[in-house]
Symmetry: C2
């Protein structure tokens, strides 16, 4: 594959994951329409295998390893959702998976990764570099690195979620004015933007980020890849990436309508709304796009809007605390 | 309509609610398959308008009121989910809805009913009879009573959930060995049993009840409608009906494979499983069928099983307590 994936790569990824990934539905909710004054469609990727969209890209990459690569296994770094996606895909394909994961990752993500047969290599997020650790593991024992976003197979795999949204909307006779995507490293956003560029070029695609990790928003403004201060903590553990990826930013810079930023209070309110009205369990990082919609950050001209709920791997204690 | 509805009435109800009710998907989950050792399909009716399957029957009934009846409005009794379903349907059709609801109904159900424009008439569940109160309201002010289960339109409406399960399974090339349905008064169970009897007669349909309210289980054994001791409390507020309905029992007696009973601990464990693995918010009464599956109450011969998750209207405090 060329470095920058194209629409054909997303279609190929859709064929590759068919029958292995969950074909998640496109939902609508009367209360959500009422409170926003728009026609809203929700893509519930917490229903995906491993509890987030990450399985899509992971399976698309791992299922294309050659025999020698499968023998060596894979190495990845992840705050937890890519870890579970890689571990799930690796288990299905009989491949060893080692994951470099921060020591402060949510327990549910660590436990699920282990339950899926993944091997966790812990590190301190504030003093150690996860990519260096991963490359050392590969240098020592061999194995193929599976990046969490800056990889054409991963971007194409995540893009299948956008492809499904656009196809399902089209099947319902709906033209989407906007698509809101939760954004960390930008792989899901880039994949969705590529899908929209082909299938519905006048649908405005927005990246949504949490306060403190608004590196896409600032990068889109400055025109170059800006960094986040990774010494800061955030409720949105899934979105704590240091900067947009090279590949993902090259795509997103050309295709996004903009980037929106939400506060932690807005994220918590979105999680409560999802509990109370949508009856879906959304993790903080998976709720930022909904938070942007509910806090009215989207231009009023976008009447028909799809919102990605990208994952639901949240510790029960934190979820209970958010509800209370 | 004849007193006992038939399959044609379910098909007519499906046409009647199309475009008004949510066409909920049929989901599968790898972890659920793994832990049960079966191929399991989940019908997430908490995603339905008003947060439970009850909207189906309510809309099917209310949309058939004649002009004079619409003018008079409707009166219903409900522990909360039928209330919300009736209130939602009434609001869409411009009909007044008065609901007799116990004073100890969950706050979320009361609040949602009011938010939907329903008028609540409270009563004490332990000392007053809700049907008497409803009939007095009608005698005084007029209006049409909309029973919560013992009514052919209601049964046919709820049966559309079963129709969708069987149609979606068929479209995936799956023959269901069993279908587990949460059971209070038996309307959803009867509707699903009627749908299965036509579309998949060798699918075993089971009613699932909570301990203390196992009146269907005992009625199926004795061959006559047995009563529950309604002085007892239960976590499953949606299923506290005094006995099987006349119509629903006439249907269920002939069509069910059996009834299963689950404990409160099993219900809590099912709610936690749904949170952790399915990422769905399930209320206690909506979790009994999943609880029966997870606690292995179903004969091992049923390899392909569909499970109804009938609602998700649960107070955040209770949900947080169950998670902890």
């Amino acid at each position: 594959m060329d470095e920058i994936p194209g629409f054909a790569d997303i279609e190929a990824a859709a064929a590759q994951i068919a029958g292995h990934a969950v074909r998640t539905p496109l939902l609508d909710n009367a209360v959500l329409n009422d409170v926003t004054g728009r026609e809203v469609f929700v893509k519930p990727e917490m229903l995906q295998r491993s509890g987030s969209f990450k399985f899509r890209g992971a399976y698309n990459r791992l299922s294309r390893l050659n025999a020698e690569e499968r023998e060596q296994g894979v190495v990845a770094w992840s705050s937890g959702n890519h870890a579970q996606g890689v571990a799930a895909a690796a288990a299905m394909l009989g491949v060893r998976a080692r994951i470099v994961m921060p020591d402060d990752a949510p327990a549910i993500k660590r436990d699920n990764t282990l339950a899926l047969g993944g091997e966790i290599v812990g590190y301190d997020r504030y003093s150690q570099d996860r990519e260096t650790i991963a490359r050392e593991l590969v240098a020592r024992d061999g194995g193929v690195i599976v990046p969490s976003y800056d990889d054409p197979w991963i971007i194409a795999g995540q893009g299948t979620a956008g492809l499904e949204i656009l196809n399902d909307a089209h099947a319902q006779g709906v033209h989407l004015d906007a698509l809101l995507v939760c954004c960390g490293g930008g792989g899901l956003t880039a994949g969705c933007a590529l899908a929209a560029a082909e299938l519905s070029p006048d649908t405005a695609v927005y990246a949504v980020e949490p306060e403190g990790y608004d590196d896409h928003a600032r990068s889109l403004q400055s025109g170059r890849r800006e960094s986040a201060d990774t010494s800061k903590s955030s409720l949105c553990d899934a979105l704590l990436t240091p900067s947009p990826g090279k590949l993902t930013f090259a795509i997103n810079q050309g295709l996004l309508a903009g980037a929106l930023v939400v506060s932690e209070d807005e994220v918590r309110a979105a999680m409560r709304f999802a509990f109370r009205e949508l009856k879906l369990v959304v993790e903080p990082g998976g709720a930022v796009a909904l938070a942007a919609l509910l806090s009215n950050k989207l231009p009023a001209c976008h009447e028909r809007v799809a919102v990605m709920l990208s994952g639901g791997n949240v510790d029960p204690d934190l979820f209970a605390e958010v509800l209370s």
